[in-house]
């Protein structure tokens, strides 16, 4: 607990240093609030003593005029107005600090996500990274909304204590006993409550995960008649959550009444002791009222300590996840070399002894402390390498087809060729240069990959294809205009459907825009690559959603465009393979054979099996049918 407190407060201090001005205003407001509130209590005591008591009891010669009464009221109002100004400043600027910090860290995280190498991305589930930028950042700075308040309350207690002591030290001592009691109640409550809250949150996560998984698999649940088992599974989770909620409720249900009773008991003690002190002439009614009233004013603000304490564990947990990303040292080391410009014609490509092993899934930085509800069992064995000792030589301007069964490493190879990831060993040479020696942006400037699954940004068609190359700060020779975009769309055979969209290039596509079919998305991704006039084009099964005729048209168009591009294409279809100068047969991460298609087909049975499977099955069946017919 104390560790959490120190760590959490250190994070808050960092936040204060990062937003010093906003934080200072929030604190200033809170101090005004604290002093103002204490002043109200003191003033109520003074007014009671000097105005109310003489006026009502007629003591002290009854020299109080109506004017004095109104003046006292005006003084109280003035203090209230100042206090309210403090409250406003405190609340608004506390929010300003917290939200500015959230924004600051979200920007930093997003930049980090963009900088970190893809191997790092592949080892971290997207959902968790998103949660870090969303809820973890929020959790980290939520305490900032309470911190200025809590600091103001410290000031309030300090000033109130001095005012009480000035009235009567003994009575002040009795009254102020309530403050440590309240703080103790808060601390005990947080300490007892925090494991219960954690438990409730964990179980709530499990209920949600179970429901989500079950609904997602609803079709399977239905078609296998598993509904009863699923309801039972969910009911177990729901009941555990119920029990945890009741346990938490038992604690919470005790806290509220106790926290309300303590100031009442304190006030009663003040009244009893105060009457005795009044009997001995040590205090007047005004002092008694001042202290009792101040005690009432303290009861609510003291809770801010409890709120702060309950937020700090979330601060610590959230910040741990955020810092784990920000401190991540993995980077893509860029070199300094440059390649000739786009007009330089097709680039030759080679790989030497290329090997790659997928990174192990990353561990949640908080994994030791709590179980991540949405992670199932983890694999026991280290997977075998995705690619092993792959050496290729692709002549400038030629087309190579990479063929292999599911899981043979084709997509991994495609990613390595354009330096999405770096090999475990070996090298990729683009235009004779190791891609790791090239400066940032050079590989992307010369080579384009069209991946298997197409990602469409929540943007217009134009934005999705240009991806920033249409911005004003792009040098004119690289800037992409609408003509270039249409040209690329034509090459990708996407001009037809884009022209038919209600807003053409300005049509919003992606998440909240119009939905595109799989084939349309692929053609968009193809245009995105082609608009960059790449010297090397890598198509990772990128035409699978196109029907054969369109695929042929796209590939023919590429060949005829004359710009001259080296093409590496991952494919199954004989029609696609037929366009290649050479095929590479990949199995279990290794090159089994390579060469012109007919030659490989002639000597490599595995390759034949793969490429001619359908044709062969049909032939076999025809033979069988013929056999049956012959026998009949």
């Amino acid at each position: 607990m104390s560790g959490t407190f120190t760590t959490g407060m250190r994070t808050m201090a960092r936040g204060a240093r990062e937003e010093p001005r906003l934080f200072a205003v929030a604190i200033a407001g809170s101090v005004v609030y604290g002093v103002g509130t204490a002043a109200t209590g003191w003033l109520v005591g003074r007014v009671t003593e000097r105005v109310v008591v003489p006026a009502v009891t007629g003591s002290a010669g009854g020299s109080v005029s109506t004017w004095d009464v109104w003046l006292a009221g005006a003084a109280l109002m003035a203090v209230t107005v100042v206090t309210v100004a403090g409250v406003l400043a405190r609340r608004i600027w506390a929010g300003a600090v917290a939200f500015a910090l959230q924004a600051r860290y979200r920007r930093r995280l997003a930049r980090r996500y963009l900088e970190l190498p893809l191997s790092w991305h592949h080892a971290h589930p997207a959902g968790r990274l998103l949660a870090t930028a969303g809820s973890d950042v929020e959790a980290t700075w939520q305490a900032m909304l309470v911190l200025p308040f809590a600091l103001g309350v410290v000031v309030l207690i300090g000033v109130a204590a001095v005012a009480m002591a000035a009235a009567d030290p003994l009575l002040a001592a009795v009254a102020l006993l309530v403050v440590p009691a309240l703080v103790a109640a808060n601390v005990v409550y947080q300490r007892r409550m925090s494991p219960r809250v954690t438990q409730v949150q964990r179980l709530r996560g499990e209920v949600s995960a179970t429901a989500h998984e079950s609904f997602e698999g609803a079709l399977v649940v239905k078609t296998l008649g598993l509904a009863d088992e699923e309801v039972e599974r969910f009911a177990r989770d729901a009941d555990r959550l119920r029990a945890a909620n009741v346990a938490a409720g038992r604690t919470r249900g005790a806290f509220e009444p106790v926290i309300e009773a303590l100031p009442s008991l304190g006030t009663l003690a003040v009244l009893a002791v105060g009457t005795a002190r009044a009997a001995s002439g040590a205090v007047g009614v005004g002092d008694l009222v001042q202290i009792a009233f101040l005690l009432g004013l303290l009861a609510f603000p003291v809770r801010s300590f409890g709120w702060l304490l309950s937020e700090l564990p979330r601060t610590v947990a959230g910040d741990a996840r955020v810092q784990a990303v920000l401190r991540e040292s993995a980077t893509t080391p860029w070199g300094e070399r440059h390649l000739p410009d786009a007009g330089a014609g097709p680039a030759p490509l080679a790989t030497t002894g290329l090997s790659y092993r997928h990174p192990a899934p990353a561990v949640d930085p908080l994994a030791g402390q709590r179980r991540h509800h949405d992670s199932g069992p983890t694999p026991r064995h280290e997977p075998s390498p995705a690619l092993a000792d792959v050496s290729l030589d692709v002549a400038a301007g030629s087309t190579v087809a990479v063929v292999g069964s599911t899981g043979s490493g084709k997509s991994t190879l495609a990613g390595l060729l354009v330096r999405l990831v770096d090999p475990t060993s070996g090298a990729v040479l683009l235009d004779g240069v190791d891609v790791r020696e090239l400066a940032e942006g050079q590989v992307a400037g010369a080579a384009a990959l069209v991946p298997q699954s197409t990602f469409v940004f929540d943007d217009t068609v134009r934005g999705n294809i240009a991806l920033g190359l249409d911005a004003d700060d792009v040098p004119p020779d690289r800037r992409v205009g609408d003509d270039d975009i249409w040209e690329a769309l034509r090459l990708a055979r996407a001009d037809g459907f884009v022209a038919a969209l209600p807003n053409g290039l300005d049509e919003l596509v992606g998440e909240r825009g119009s939905t595109l079919s799989g084939g349309q998305r692929q053609r968009l991704a193809l245009a995105r690559a082609l608009v960059r006039k790449p010297r090397l084009l890598v198509l990772d099964d990128a035409t699978s959603a196109l029907d054969p005729a369109v695929e042929r048209a796209v590939l023919d168009g590429l060949a005829a465009s004359g710009a001259g591009t080296t093409v590496v294409v991952v494919a199954y279809r004989p029609a696609t393979i037929a366009l290649a100068d050479e095929v590479v047969h990949l199995e279990r991460g290794r090159v089994v054979d390579r060469g012109p298609a007919e030659e490989v087909a002639a000597r490599d049975a595995g390759y034949r099996d793969l490429v001619t499977a359908y044709a062969r099955a049909a032939r076999d069946r025809a033979d069988e049918a013929a056999g049956r017919a012959g026998r009949a």
Binding site: T40, T48, V52, V53, A55, V56, T66, V69, A72, L76, T80, T83, V84, V87, I92, G95, F99, A103, R106, R107, L109, A110, R111, Y113, L114, A126, A133, G134, S208, A211, S214, E216, G217, L219, T223, L224, A227, F234, A238, L241, R242, G249, R250, G253, E256, L268, A279, P377, P379, H381, G407, L420, D458, A471, D473, E511, A613, Y614, A618, A625
Partner: protein, 592 residues
């Protein structure tokens, strides 16, 4: 698609229905509220003690009466302690009752989601359904456990305090009411812009998260095209928009909150001023006047809290309504009534589709029209057709995932609507294209096909499908974890596991909806061969994406535009030169 939640029911109906669904909540509620009401008396202890101490203690004729005050305060302390205990009892009773009720509400809603037609549960709807059984139920519990209590206690507190104020001095009581009532009335109006500001924050939050998610989910594309500058701009703009809106909402709440602080300061000043003036005329004792300072404070908390609680009440009612509406959504595929229940005769299932028509609920566009088919027991049928021709709908009708709008589906002589769902789905199994897997091991996933089967049964299922080698090739074998939705396996591997699962279920009618579409060609051909063996003695229907499947079937059904256009053996259809022949021609050309 929108069959699941209909327009809102009247409020009272919703409440009554919820009470039927979660009767545990109302159990003992009367007693709980009675104890709660008694508890509010504790709030008056301090003001009364102040009044008594001042008027009869400190200002007692002949000097302060210490003994009287001590006894008074002791009695008051006992009352405070007693009400503290009763408040705790109230809380615990409330937690017990509401949590029990809400747990059963959750489970009922969950069951109903599974009872609803599967086709309503795609995409966005799924997230919404999860929130029905989680956060919507949580909003109800938040209200019942804190809001409702605060409302009851606040009301009691305000009524008691006001009563006592009028008893002490009606003039001063009117002054206090005059200050607070406008605040109460205005507060409710303030609450609306505050709620709107927060709704806007949630929208900005969603936009911001979607911008950030592009940097994560689209990382490969951004890297491949060196497009990070564009992403920075998008993210920065979205982050800034969220920050601005959040601060705006914060200003709105700060203004609302400080209006309460202002009014309570005003009340203190006015009570002292007006009270003193009244006292000077001898209309008010000093003790009563001072008690007002404390009594007036009893208004502050409720005023601050009620606006928020009323907001919570709105949320809870909305949440409650959504849950109840979900549970009350009529099931699209209802269980047969008791007098209609029939049993499915043993052995391979014979399928008769009799003049069936189907349109998605809420639409007029027919997906299938006038479809009649007869699939003999033990036959192998392939259904082919373009995307959107209605093949998948046909598969759903045969497995009774939906009921026809017109005509009927008869399984082994029994109308499918007369078969209990559980029985039907144990014998009639469909393998959908997306082979969904649960987040556990391969072995556990397959075992779901027939709960209670052994590891050897599971292995045998793979072996019989010719997938023994694939399984043996996995380092962890049956214990291989599949990850969420099975995402640690490739799409093709997921389909293999789903097939093994269906095979283990040992169905009498197996419907394969493009169930091998993501498997590589060599494996697929092997699998087809194995399936032919496995399927003997069962009826099978395969929705085919590749015509290789069709060629292996006894009967090919060609669907086009929601109608069956051709039925016959593959060879005959090719020779006939119709729709199938055209599909076959295109396919043979692509095959190279």
């Amino acid at each position: 698609m929108s069959t699941a939640v209909k327009s809102s029911a009247p409020r009272e109906g919703v409440l009554r229905r919820a009470q039927e669904l979660a009767p545990e909540i109302a159990q003992g509620l009367g007693v709980t509220l009675a104890i709660a009401a008694a508890t509010t008396v504790g709030k008056l202890v301090v003001p009364v003690a102040v009044q008594q101490t001042v008027d009869t203690g400190v200002l007692a004729p002949g000097g302060p009466d210490v003994q009287r005050v001590v006894v008074l305060c002791a009695v008051a302390a006992v009352i405070v302690l007693l009400t503290t205990v009763t408040a705790w009892v109230v809380n615990v009773r409330l937690f017990r009752a509401t949590e029990a009720g809400l747990a059963s509400l959750r489970v009922r809603a969950f069951r109903h989601v599974h009872d609803l037609a599967v086709l309503t549960q795609s995409g966005e709807r799924r997230g919404a359904l999860v929130s029905r059984v989680t956060s919507d139920v949580d909003t109800i519990s938040t209200f019942l456990q804190t809001g409702m209590l605060v409302l009851v206690l606040s009301l009691g507190q305000v009524v008691l305090a006001t009563g006592l104020m009028f008893f002490y001095s009606w003039q001063l009581a009117l002054v206090v009411l005059g200050c607070f009532l406008p605040l109460v009335l205005l507060r409710h109006r303030f609450q609306r812009p505050v709620a709107q500001a927060y709704a806007a924050v949630r929208v900005r939050m969603g936009e911001m998260l979607s911008a950030i998610s592009e940097t994560v989910v689209g990382a490969d594309v951004i890297r491949a095209h060196a497009a990070s500058a564009r992403s920075w701009r998008t993210v920065d703009a979205a982050v800034e928009a969220h920050r601005k809106q959040a601060v705006k909402a914060q200003v709105a709440t700060a203004a609302t909150f400080s209006s309460g602080v202002l009014v309570s300061g005003l009340v203190v000043a006015l009570v002292l001023v007006v009270g003193t003036l009244l006292g000077m005329n001898g209309d008010l004792t000093l003790g009563r006047l001072l008690a007002f300072l404390f009594l007036a404070q009893l208004w502050v908390g409720p005023v601050q809290a009620t606006a928020e609680v009323l907001n919570e009440l709105q949320n809870a009612l909305a949440g409650w309504r959504r849950v109840v509406e979900l549970i009350d959504t009529p099931v699209v595929v209802p269980e047969p009534s008791r007098d209609r229940v029939r049993e499915l005769p043993a052995g391979p299932v014979e399928v008769r589709v009799e003049d069936v028509g189907y349109a998605y609920p809420g639409t007029d566009r027919a997906v299938l029209t006038g479809v009649s088919l007869h699939l003999p027991a033990g036959s192998r049928t392939a259904v082919v057709g373009e995307t959107g021709s209605g093949k998948t709908t046909l598969a759903r009708l045969v497995t009774r995932l939906v009921d026809p709008v017109q005509g009927r589906v008869v399984l082994s002589g029994v109308d499918a609507r007369d078969l209990p769902g559980r029985e039907l789905h144990r014998r009639v199994v469909a393998v959908p294209q997306e082979g969904f897997l649960f987040d556990t091991t391969i072995g556990e996933n397959v075992r779901r096909g027939r709960p209670g089967s052994s590891d050897d049964d599971v292995r045998a299922a793979f072996a019989e499908l010719g997938l023994g080698d694939w399984l043996d090739g996995l380092p962890d074998g049956l214990d291989t974890p599949v990850g969420q939705r099975g995402e640690r396996l490739s799409a093709g591997e997921r389909q293999l596991v789903a097939l093994a699962r269906a095979h283990l279920a040992d169905p009498d009618l197996l419907v394969l909806d493009e169930a091998t579409s993501s498997v590589d060609p060599a494996t697929e051909v092997r699998l087809q061969r194995a399936l032919e063996g496995v399927l003997s003695g069962r009826t099978s229907v395969a929705i085919a994406h590749r015509l290789s499947t069709a060629e292996a079937a006894d009967v090919v059904v060609v669907v086009d535009g929601g109608r069956v256009v051709e039925v016959g053996a593959a060879g005959e259809l090719v020779r006939a030169g119709g729709a199938y022949a055209r599909l076959h021609g295109a396919w043979a050309a692509g095959r190279g």
